[in-house]
């Protein structure tokens, strides 16, 4: 689905934001992109969206080399990528329904298709009753659900999420992760840049770690911190507990208390 071939990108007068990245992400994978600020996560996502082009190397998305994409084909690339951001980026003067419908309107979908799909996706994200609200009337978690609905309403192949839980409290974050997981189960590839240790450690999905533009780790069922073995990686929380936590998190209702307890035990960062 996504392939990076020795991709380098640097901005003027600075050390490379990405240096020689090669990796492949399969269809339907759920990938965490971790690393400190300035490690190149955002550049990685910007390159995928073709908001920037690589200096060297090639990026393939759904079989197309997007570095060689002509200008007028960029929109069709972006229709296959749904984007979610830390700051939601909703339009403040439109209702929830209008915000989601906007994404279909501006790519010229017919009216009946729009109302159909918007209704469905709002049910999916659990906002079926709140279509007429304005963004400022919603909580942060609900706003992010609207943003996810907007990203997913056109059924993209890939969802790119740049710290989608960065502005949310842990319980709300869990709800968002449940939603992203549900979307992932429909076969949609999810690439999520994050700093949230708890989420990465609980979900146990593929982790790609960047450090100063270098790919330093690519681990299936990985955790946030670099780890040689399970014990150190989860910082004292047994793997069984983590797995149990994951199950509960994906299955049961979010429980703030449990997450807080886990964090406390870890000596929360």
């Amino acid at each position: 689905m996504i392939r990076f071939d020795n991709v380098t990108k640097s901005y003027k007068g600075q050390p490379p934001a990405l240096g020689g990245i090669s990796l492949e992400i399969q269809k339907g994978e759920f990938v965490f992109l971790v690393g400190s600020s300035g490690s190149g996560k955002t550049t990685f996502l910007r390159l995928l969206l073709r908001e920037a082009v690589p200096d060297t190397g090639a990026i393939w998305v759904a079989g197309r080399n997007i570095g060689e994409l002509s200008h007028w084909r960029v929109p069709s690339l972006r229709r296959n990528l749904g984007c979610v951001f830390q700051d939601f980026r909703l339009l403040p003067n439109k209702t929830v329904t209008e915000n989601v419908a906007f994404a279909l309107e501006v790519i010229g979908r017919p009216r009946n298709v729009i109302s159909n799909q918007v209704g469905q996706v709002l049910e999916l994200v659990g906002l079926g009753q709140k279509g007429d609200r304005m963004p400022h009337e919603l909580s942060g978690g609900e706003q992010q659900r609207v943003a996810i609905a907007r990203a997913f309403v056109n059924r993209p192949l890939v969802i790119l999420a740049d710290e989608p839980t960065g502005n949310l409290d842990p319980a709300t974050s869990q709800g968002i992760m449940k939603l992203l997981d549900r979307i992932n189960r429909t076969g949609t590839t999810v690439v999520m840049a994050t700093h949230d240790v708890g989420i990465v450690d609980t979900m146990r999905r593929r982790v790609i770690e960047l450090d100063r533009g270098r790919l330093v780790r690519d681990q299936a069922r990985g955790v946030y911190g670099a780890a040689e073995d399970m014990t150190t990686s989860t910082r004292g929380v047994p793997a069984v507990a983590v797995a149990a936590g994951l199950d509960r998190m994906l299955g049961a209702e979010p429980t703030t208390g449990r997450v807080a307890a886990v964090r406390a035990r870890r000596g929360q960062r």
Binding site: R79, E105, G108, R150, N154
Partner: protein, 296 residues
């Protein structure tokens, strides 16, 4: 992909309303500058028509004595035919010449009363290959040809008037061009502000894969509407000024100036030109703004 008309209309209207002060400034500047353009064009046509009427597109007139014999007239006719500088000539007999004189002297009824068809001199009205040769050619007829009363060419005053209106037109057009440029810049700025006001929407549109034209069209259309509205105001001003001049001429019975009021056809052509220039200014301003400030 078809851009939905409803969507574009809605977006354009919203943009214009949100930015109404800027839009108003742009529209009024377009209106003022195009009124000047229209006025300059009308002035030119009116003056040309009036001068044409006065001199009847004739650069030489050979008046015969009222009592000139048929032989003398035939003689003059053959002299004219042998003069290479004269390209074309028409002869007005007593009745035709009298009608013509009545028109020209409409403002002084006493002069008309003094004339009868029989006392009005018949006249050859001639066009010259080159109007500047009028003096030389008229000299050959004024040199005592039997039966010829006088040969004349259009008076100096008409030429002075033509030159004055030419200068006036140039001044009007220069002012109009300066104003057109400033209205283009105003439209450009209005569109730039509209783009800035909608940067969130534009950002989302880019992210979800709206095509470049889809993003651009409402802004372009906004500029076009501003140009068009300004042009329509200008067209109304031009129409009113033409009607006003016509009314004044009729009211004060200045029938010598009768031809300064343009016929409907010329007026329509001028108005269309004004509207077209308005559209071009609007589209040009907004295209520049879209290209410079909307990186899609």
């Amino acid at each position: 992909m078809a851009v939905s008309f409803e969507y574009v209309a809605k977006e354009t209207a919203t943009n214009l309303w949100r930015n109404r002060m800027m839009a108003l400034a742009a529209i009024l500047t377009v209106a003022v500058s195009l009124s000047l353009v229209g006025t300059a064009l009308l002035l030119r046509q009116a003056v040309n028509r009036q001068i044409g009427q006065w001199s009847n597109n004739v650069s030489l007139q050979v008046f015969m004595d009222a009592s000139a014999s048929t032989g003398q007239i035939a003689n003059v006719r053959s002299t004219i035919a042998q003069t290479p500088q004269i390209t074309h000539c028409t002869y007005l007999d007593h009745a035709q010449s009298y009608e013509q004189a009545k028109k020209l002297l409409a403002s002084s009824p006493t002069a008309i009363e003094a004339l009868t068809p029989a006392t009005t001199p018949t006249v050859f009205r001639c066009q010259l290959r080159n109007p500047s040769e009028a003096a030389t050619v008229s000299a050959t007829f004024n040199g005592g040809v039997p039966g010829v009363y006088q040969a004349t060419s259009p008076s100096q005053s008409i030429r002075v008037m033509q030159q004055v209106t030419n200068v006036l037109q140039v001044i009007l057009l220069v002012i109009a061009i300066v104003l057109l440029v400033s209205s283009l810049v105003l439209i450009l700025n209005a569109i730039r502000m509209a783009i800035f006001a909608r940067r969130r929407e534009v950002g989302v549109m880019k992210l979800v894969g709206a095509t470049n034209w889809f993003i651009r069209v409402p802004f372009m259309l906004e500029g076009l509407v501003q140009g068009l509205l300004g042009a329509l105001v200008a067209a109304v001003i031009v129409l009113l000024s033409n009607l006003g001049v016509g009314y004044l001429i009729r009211h004060y019975k200045v029938s010598v100036l009768g031809s300064a009021v343009l016929p409907a056809h010329d007026l329509v052509v001028t108005e269309l030109l004004v509207v077209l220039i308005g559209l071009v200014v609007g589209v040009a301003g907004s295209s520049v703004a879209v290209r410079r400030f909307l990186d899609v």
